[in-house]
């Protein structure tokens, strides 16, 4: 049994008096498609922020590919192969759609001044390859007609797709998707899901995604992790989790307590 690609242990993160994440522990298996669900305010986005290095954990540890990453800078975590999207998509509106995706190209010698000045030929080659890959990814998410437009003209749903194309461009090993389907039309969503499955099959990419649409969760994920009030309350296959009484209580409780 291989080690999990992501191991979170007893992470605590507070905001003022509120314990947003209150001792959460979870494992993500390599090559799996895992869903992270839970009522609003359960701490899912905060946990994403901690895992990806955008917020420090006050207690606990995070291990990615068996190396500790809590305390590591966010950009370095991304370089190691753990990338994430944001709940509100962060398109760079004053760059073109193509440039947005090109930005994510990993190990591009043109991004260092030394590379630009001393190795122009290699830089040009990198850029050509990156351009090709970027255009393939844009075709994949059906944004190719906006390739040269400012990203600012894209709608919310389109920006989510751009976010997705961008993280895939970074050639990650673990992708954290924060509500990837929100605002995306169902047909396209389906196609993206198929592509995600393909990536998992071909390249062994692992996906952890936060999702509210439970149908998608049931259909697409191998495993489901349920959070409530800052803790993980259940993990298992979709079928197991669906009938788990603690999960039902958490959702019902959340619905009825307003």
């Amino acid at each position: 049994m291989t080690a999990p690609i992501l191991a979170v242990r007893d992470v605590v993160r507070r905001f003022g008096g509120l314990r947003a994440v209150d001792g959460a522990s979870l494992d993500v298996e390599r090559g799996s498609i895992t869903a992270l669900i839970g009522p609003n305010g359960a701490g899912k986005s905060t946990l994403f922020n901690v895992v990806s290095g955008f917020l420090p954990a006050e207690k606990g540890s995070v291990q990615f590919e068996e190396r500790r990453i809590d305390g590591t800078a966010a950009y370095r975590i991304a370089q190691r192969g753990l990338v994430r999207t944001f709940q509100v998509p962060r398109a760079l509106t004053r760059l073109s759609v193509l440039d947005n995706v090109l930005l994510a190209a990993p190990n591009h010698s043109g991004e260092r001044l030394s590379g630009v000045l001393l190795r122009p030929a290699r830089t040009r080659a990198h850029e050509r390859n990156a351009r090709r890959r970027a255009q393939e990814l844009l075709a994949l998410v059906r944004l190719e007609e906006h390739t040269h437009d400012y990203a600012g003209v894209l709608s919310g749903g389109q920006r989510k797709l751009l976010d997705l194309a961008r993280v895939l461009m970074a050639e990650p090993r673990l992708v954290l998707l924060d509500e990837p389907m929100a605002g995306v039309n169902p047909t396209l969503g389906r196609q993206l899901l198929e592509h995600v499955l393909q990536l998992r099959a071909d390249e062994g990419m692992t996906f952890l995604f936060v999702e509210h649409d439970l149908d998608v969760v049931m259909e697409a994920s191998d495993r489901v992790i349920v959070m409530n009030e800052g803790r993980v309350i259940a993990t298992g296959t979709p079928a197991e989790v669906r009938t788990d009484s603690r999960v039902i209580d958490a959702y019902l409780g959340a619905t009825w307590s307003t």
Partner: protein, 294 residues
């Protein structure tokens, strides 16, 4: 010597504290870094000269009129400049740059109208207050008493009055306060009035303390004032008051010869910056500021 420096430090510090409070009140609500604030102070100082020297009024009523005049200037600028800019959704950078332009305009209009020659208030130059081993000139004595009263009043205003509470609400969350029914326009005007009064007062006091001054008065104090605001934690009026006093004391006490010869007095502003940098390195949000939530 030490006590003398302590007294000087309290005098300088309280003037900076008042001005810093004025900057902070506006920043807290409008997120506007008013780079022209030093020149609001200079305006107040020169208005004081107008009333005290040209019109022969005693210093206290002259100062009060100067404060009122500065408050009027402050409100006028809000109506003519800041409000229209906010209506155009001008962002932080735009507003800051406008305040830079405004500073240039105000300062040089004062130069044009009043001329560059140094001015002095008509106070008795021979009056000396002796407290322990410290000697305070008449001007310094007035300054420290008035400034202390001013600081206490500001603190009470923010903490106890309805207006103060509303200002804190707006500083916390302006859109929310608007939805909750607070008359934001009025509170903003009140903030500018208080800020203007404080600028006028700080300007006159600074003029008294420096004995003679020219139109560079406010601008030359602006950086220690901003340092006090930042050190105290931007947006916190108490922080600004504390920061001002702390910086004033640091600046004066640093020249104490017992401290390895003491710092060369011309480097006092450098001490202020050094103090600011030290505080920020240890506590990036300032003494009373809130830590940044990502």
């Amino acid at each position: 010597m030490f006590v003398q420096l302590l007294a000087n430090g309290l005098v300088t510090g309280s003037v900076i504290a008042l001005a810093a409070a004025g900057v902070s009140i506006v920043y807290g609500i409008l997120r506007l870094v008013n780079f022209a604030y030093g020149d609001y102070m200079t305006f107040g100082a020169f208005m004081g000269i107008l009333f005290n020297v040209k019109l022969d009024l005693p210093i206290v009523p002259a100062a009060m009129l100067a404060m009122a005049a500065t408050a009027v200037l402050s409100v006028a600028l809000e109506l003519v400049l800041w409000r229209p800019l906010r209506a155009k959704s001008a962002g932080f950078m735009s507003l800051f740059l406008v305040s830079v332009g405004l500073a240039l305009v105000l300062r040089h209009v004062i130069y044009l109208v009043a001329g560059p020659q140094p001015r002095t208030y008509a106070v008795n130059p021979y009056k000396v207050y002796v407290i322990g081993s410290a000697r305070l000139s008449g001007a310094q004595g007035i300054a420290i008493v008035v400034a202390t009263i001013g600081i206490v009043l500001v603190g009470l205003l923010i903490a106890r009055t309805g207006v103060g509470r509303m200002m804190r609400a707006l500083a916390d969350d302006l859109p929310l306060a608007a939805i909750a029914g607070v008359r934001t326009g009025r509170v903003i005007l009140a903030a500018w009035i208080v800020s203007g009064l404080l600028a006028g007062l700080a300007g006159v006091l600074a003029g008294l303390v420096q004995t003679s001054f020219d139109p560079q008065l406010g601008f030359s104090l602006l950086l220690p004032i901003f340092a006090a605001v930042v050190m105290g934690g931007i947006g916190s009026v108490y922080g600004a008051l504390a920061g001002g006093l702390a910086l004033g004391l640091a600046m004066e006490l640093s020249t104490w010869p017992e401290l390895a010869g003491g710092v060369n007095p011309t480097y006092k502003p450098v001490v202020a910056f050094a103090a600011l940098v030290c505080v920020l390195l240890v506590r990036p949000q300032g003494l009373f500021g809130r830590a940044r939530v990502v």
